[in-house]
Amino acid sequence: MPQEEKIRGAVGAVEITKIDGSVYFRSIPKVFKGTPLEWTPSFQDGNRYNQKNLFAALYFAGSVFLAEKEVEARLRPEYQESRLTLGFRVQIDKAIDLTAPNNLALLEKAGVYRDDLIKPAGADESGYKMTRLIGKFAYELGIKALIVPTSKPKPQDMQDEVWHNLVIFPVPLMAPFLIPVYE
């Protein structure tokens, strides 16, 4: 069986979970505080779990500290214009947790390892090949969010900190609003 099909099967087999009111965070420049959930750029550009021009995904961090770390890894604090960190209380009924050992074990059987989930994109974005496949198959299954590992190392003195990210697919979230009007 081709690896893509194995990955599709693994994504279909992982346990569905709920996110019941947990708070997730995004650090954004103050001047853009009016559009913290804009997803058009994500659709246009793509990212770790979404291929560009296919579907959008919004990325959140599990803690304020991690949200800031994700920015600092790309832009030093002294280079940053003023930023603020916003919290979002998330309730989602159909998510999958890619940090859970049993789900990671299913992915491993399909040849996808935890390191594949945290690879840098690389100049040609080949580092995102596996994660984008996972995102695509999850999206096609109507999964609304992925709980995912972060590539940023957890500081020794922050062992109690929530240390994962959340990827929300906005379109499946809105799917219940659809009313077929024309055949």
């Binding site: 559009t35 770790r48 790309r74 030093r76 280079y79 100049a123 580092g127």
Partner: protein, 118 residues
């Protein structure tokens, strides 16, 4: 006879503006403008009106615009010359020298703008 002021196009400093904002060396500027020659760059700096319709120059101006509110203006040239882990250790300046990869720099700026990072 037209005066010097009348001859000036309102956008005639674009080439110099972009080069200064990005802190580009001459070779970087030539590469980012689609591999133009040193002679063409000299001509464009001397008379930037000839470069106004250049798609590469427009792209670089949009990139600078995209960095507004995200990166301090006086730090943009430093940031652009720093290696980025997600570019496999290449700098944004290096990514900008190729048509295939330059869009990723704008994408990264938009991710920083919207906090869309993972």
């Amino acid at each position: 006879m037209a005066t010097l002021t009348e001859k000036r196009h309102p956008k005639e400093n674009d080439v110099l503006f972009v080069r200064k904002a990005l802190g580009f060396e001459e070779w970087e500027m030539m590469a980012a403008l689609g591999g133009i020659s040193s002679k063409t760059l000299t001509n464009w700096l001397r008379d930037p009106r000839t470069a106004l319709e250049d798609e590469n120059l427009r792209f670089l101006k949009e990139l600078i615009e995209c960095a507004k509110g995200v990166i301090r203006r006086d730090k943009l040239s430093d940031w652009i010359h720093e290696p980025q882990e997600e570019f496999g250790g290449l700098t944004s300046a290096q990514m900008l020298t190729s048509h295939e990869t330059r869009g990723r720099v704008v994408a990264l700026l938009r991710q920083l703008r919207h906090g869309n990072l993972a």
